[in-house]
């Protein structure tokens, strides 16, 4: 599983304060800790309260990449913010995210191609979040068609079926698990999928166990990537054990330690 650490987000108070005070060391520590815990990439989001998200994005990207060299997942609903992040980003970037609306999708595909970035595409459009599997697949097929037309390699694309909170749309979660498998049937080689995991437990009690149970179920359904909290040790241990059960890693008594040691390439 490709793990994108979610903790550098202006929605969290520590990040908001670090942004306001331009406290780079706080951001660097968050970056370092997530990578050490097993994150392959880091999500970067200035948060909804940022007064100058363009400058905040640049500052965050610069602070993070002075500490770690992992790909950065530039997370914003505003194109100008994503573009500023792409300009500042020295390594690999992942654009998070576009919707399936033609104008936005085409603009983001062009950006991804220009900056050799990966692109997360949500299977939603102006009409809103699909209420069933069929509509999600229809939007996924549309996204794949536009991406192929634009010339973006399918390996650079992640489809996000958009997780809804379990206390809001409980009846949709089984469909979402199934659609993760169905996405793979749309192209050869199969397109990858990603979810923003924490959404599922938004507003619930017992968030941690809801997150990790869904993650392991999605892993079994073939999910390739997730935006999550890598410092949640039980979540990570479940994920690593799930990979073992799916025969993605060779068993040994210290398989959790082995997984983390393999991640932290010196």
């Amino acid at each position: 599983m490709y793990i994108i650490g979610e903790l550098i987000n202006g929605m969290y108070r520590n990040v908001r304060e670090a942004l306001a005070e331009r406290d780079a060391s706080a951001i660097k520590t968050l970056a370092r800790r997530q990578v050490e815990a097993g994150a392959d990439a880091l999500d970067v989001n200035c948060g909804p309260l940022s007064k100058d998200p363009v400058q905040d994005m640049r500052w965050l990207v610069e602070a993070i990449q002075s500490e770690v060299a992992v790909p950065l997942c530039l997370d914003s609903t505003k194109q100008a913010v994503i573009e500023e992040g792409l300009k500042a980003c020295r390594g690999k970037a992942i654009i998070n995210s576009t919707t399936a609306d033609t104008d936005k999708l085409d603009a983001y595909l062009a950006l991804a191609l220009k900056h050799r970035a990966s692109l997360i595409a949500l299977t939603v459009d102006k009409k809103g979040v699909p209420q069933d599997k069929e509509r999600r697949l229809e939007l996924a097929a549309f996204i794949l068609e536009r991406a192929a037309g634009a010339g973006l390699d399918a390996a650079e694309l992640y489809l996000d079926p958009v997780l809804l909170p379990v206390n809001v749309a409980q009846n949709q979660l089984e469909d979402i698990l199934r659609v993760i498998g169905d996405f793979k049937l749309l192209t050869t080689p199969a397109v990858k999928s990603v979810v923003g995991l924490s959404n599922i437990s938004q507003g619930s009690k017992n968030r941690s166990i809801i997150n990790r149970t869904f993650l392991v179920m999605a892993q079994a359904a073939g999910l390739e990537a997730a935006i999550l909290d890598p410092l949640d040790q039980e979540l990570m241990r479940s994920l690593i054990t799930g990979a073992l059960i799916l025969n993605k890693a060779i068993y040994c008594d210290s398989y959790i330690e082995a997984y983390l040691k393999s991640k932290l390439k010196s």
Partner: protein
Amino acid sequence: MAEELKMITTWSQAVCEMRLGAGRQEGGSRKVTLTVGGEETLPFLFKEGALPHTPLIAVEIFDVPQDDEPEALRRDLRGISKDPVTWAKAMVEDIGADLVCVKLAGIHPDGANTSAGQAVNLVTKILGAVDRPLIVLGCGEAGRDNEVLPLVSEATKGERLLFGDAVQENYKTLTAACIADGHNIIAESPIDVNIAKQLNILISDLGMPLDRIIINPTIGALGYGLEYAYSIMERARNAALSGDRMLAMPFICFVGQESWRAKEAKVPASESPAWGDQRERGIMWEVVTAMSCLQAGADILTMRHPQAIKIVKSEIQELMKKAQS
């Protein structure tokens, strides 16, 4: 000529490179130093990735004469195998062995029970007689090996030799000695990929860098579990190339020891006339076992018969020519 490779796989990680032997500038005395590992793909798939180092052959020699040596070996090594130093020198200079593997079988308490001093003395003498790296093996009795091997390690400090074997039940003493004296270590597992991985973690937890560990996956000779060993090695190497650092080590295969233990290699023609000449049979048993291990990903083969060494060495050179073509 084999069919061209049609599917090219891109792997995410290469096998660690292990350096054997240290020259004067590095604090050793070896004129010849060697490197193994570094594979970026499966054996001999040159179109798919780099295979930067030629697999090596180490000649297996013993500190004391072996009672159960098959006739063909005894006859063909007559005149040299009485003295390990002469034996080592002849196999390197006349036969072309890349390095020497000294098995200190004599230190076993139930065997010749030679002293630690004798072992140190012998290894030092061989180091003086050949200009290549050595592999030093204990007798397999944990207590005795833990007494003797650290002394040999200390006496050869800085030469970057390869010591073995560390096993899951007994790895700490040898690992500590090898770390302290700058040597490499052999991690042995009983044809078990899970234990191989676990032992590598245990050894690295003590502070041994991953590029100083080589895996002895344990093999069986042709007809005695070779296919099982092959699939274990294949599985480990696939995992290594796919990103599992705890299996991304080169392999050493004890071909001579295993193949000369096989009935087919040992039984004289007088007992089994239909099997033909024992010498020829034994040599081919060792050659076929060695070639199979190479195809499974072996980086170092330890071998016994001079003729088998010559044949396999020339086959390795043929196989590696494709690296240039």
